[in-house]
């Protein structure tokens, strides 16, 4: 199982004329077996932090370790191959590829080049779809599915390769309340039962009850980090 450690990770963006710090030095340890929710107002840096954790964005400062290996300075291709091996992603929009069936979309995450899928892989994809309540949709085009079904298909895509780390950016924001609950239950189960690192970015309070750990960001800095009894927030910084 994976363990992530962030040491003074910061990120600046420049708009051409001036450099703006959108994430102040942050030190965090992320462990498997719990659902971590990253919350905060819009623009507080949640996506930036998640992108750095997900190796799709490089930090401007600081270091990040994945199981003691430093991963904050990998080149593009090394980062891509690590993403392929260890990470699953669920985006705000399901981002399924039109023209491929639901099953092909799920299998896409296994080898993006598009070799002929192994029979076991197909079986696994179909099992995942069934487990996520999408039985019978394997051969359907994504546009035939509802928003909630698409998001669940994208979770199947993230899970097909048993990622140690599952990163989700606002997975419920495009969904109605009921579908949102279904998706959160699935993510929670994956974190706890399958002992993975699961990080969910959300500013939707309805997501918080599912969190085992709630990290709040404001203006690019962590303002609270509470485990289990997060309802009684202990402010760690003001």
């Amino acid at each position: 199982m994976a363990r992530l450690r962030l040491e003074n990770i910061a990120r600046d963006f420049s708009d051409g004329r001036q450099v703006r710090r959108v994430l102040f030095p942050t030190t965090l340890e992320l462990v498997p077996g719990q659902l971590t929710v990253l919350a905060g107002p819009s623009g507080s840096g949640k996506t930036t932090l998640l992108s750095i954790i997900g190796l799709v964005l490089r930090p401007s400062e600081g270091r990040m370790f994945l199981d003691e290996r430093e991963v904050s300075a990998l080149d593009d291709e090394q980062a891509a191959s690590l993403r392929l091996q260890r990470y699953g992603f669920v985006f705000q929009q399901p981002m399924l590829i039109e023209g491929l069936t639901v099953r092909e979309n799920v299998l896409l995450a296994l080898g993006v080049q598009g070799q002929r899928p192994q029979r076991e892989a197909v079986k696994k994809a179909d099992e995942l779809l069934t487990a996520l309540g999408l039985a019978g949709t394997a051969l359907v085009q994504p546009r035939m599915l509802s928003g909630g079904m698409k998001q669940r298909a994208s979770i199947a895509r993230a899970l097909i390769k048993d990622p140690a780390i599952l990163l989700c950016d606002e997975p419920t924001s495009a969904l109605d309340a009921e579908s949102g609950q279904v998706v959160m239950k699935i993510l929670k189960r994956i974190a706890i039962d399958e002992n993975r690192v699961v990080i969910v970015v959300s500013h939707d309070a309805r997501v918080f009850p599912y969190a085992d750990r709630l990290i709040k960001l404001e203006n690019g800095a962590v303002v609270s980090d509470t485990t289990e009894n997060y309802m009684a927030e202990t402010k760690i910084k003001q």
Binding site: T47, L84, G111, V112, Q113
Partner: protein, 365 residues
Amino acid sequence: MVLHDRSSTAGALLGVVAIVFLVGQQLSVLFGLLNFMSVLVDHSGADAWVLSGNLRNVDAGNLISGRYLDRVIGLREVAWAEPILIGNGLFRTPDGSFESVRVVGMRRPRLVGGPWAFAQGNERALLDLESVAVDRLDLEKLGQPLPGTLTEIGGRRVRVAAVTDGARGFQGTLVFASLDKVKDIAGTPPGRYSAILVRFQPGADAEAALARLRAVLPECSVYSTADLSRLTRRYYFTQTGIGGSFGFSTMIGVVIGVVIISLTLYTSVLGRARDFAVMRAIGGRRWDVTVVVVSQTLIITVTGLFVGFLLLSVLLNATGRSAIPSYFPSFVPPILAIVTVAVSLSGSLIALREALRAEPAAVFH
């Protein structure tokens, strides 16, 4: 598992099909016209042509003296030499009107420089002094003269004895007749010809034989058949409006084709930038994405080429025996295919480079 988005694939495919078809059709007309230009030379069956000095094209009118014929035949390398005489005349149609024709006179009995394919009748019909052959495609223009019809060209009596197939010149209607008849029609002084056609002995060294001809005929122009064909085509191409303007419009067609195909594939790839960003984010290497783009481009282009060529061959079959110039030399399809593939690949790879420039983090927004 190659990605494809149906609507954009269909659009790109349609673009490739349309361009392959249009450019191919344009090229076939161009090559058809080129064939018309040198039709007599190409079908002469001769190895060399002797023309009056400084002539660069077989249709120019200067005549050559028959004295040279003996000199040519005297050479060891020469199997035979035959004169032809080309003149102009007015063909009287059955309804009494006149059509201007080019009359090609051949010497009996060999009839070198004469028709090579017949729709009705055969070469033997032309052995008669009065006999002429007109082309199938000109029958309507000439008032449908039935075989056996007696009429006049340039006021001289002729009998339509055969119908040729595909003898169509750039300079108008070709009628084949005997040498003496053409002499009569055109009023050429005796012992003068338009050209002497020479066939070398089997196994003779063509270059050496040509050199010998040039040595004994310093006053004449001596060309190999292939050279004369090229010169004639070039002459018409550069000196006449039709050849030049058609060549120009073909070139424009090709340029537009290149632009449209590369742009079509460029937009179709760029339109899927989001898909590629997703692939990158979930762990695809640049190489993986490139493989997907290249295979998709190849599928679209090869399918488009196939359909385009299919349509072209239908068109060529339909027009091949009509008056519309159309000819597709066998070296053209491979070149057209390679250029099309190269152009569509470069269009999509340029788009891909642009699409991959975006940070993979963009998928989170």
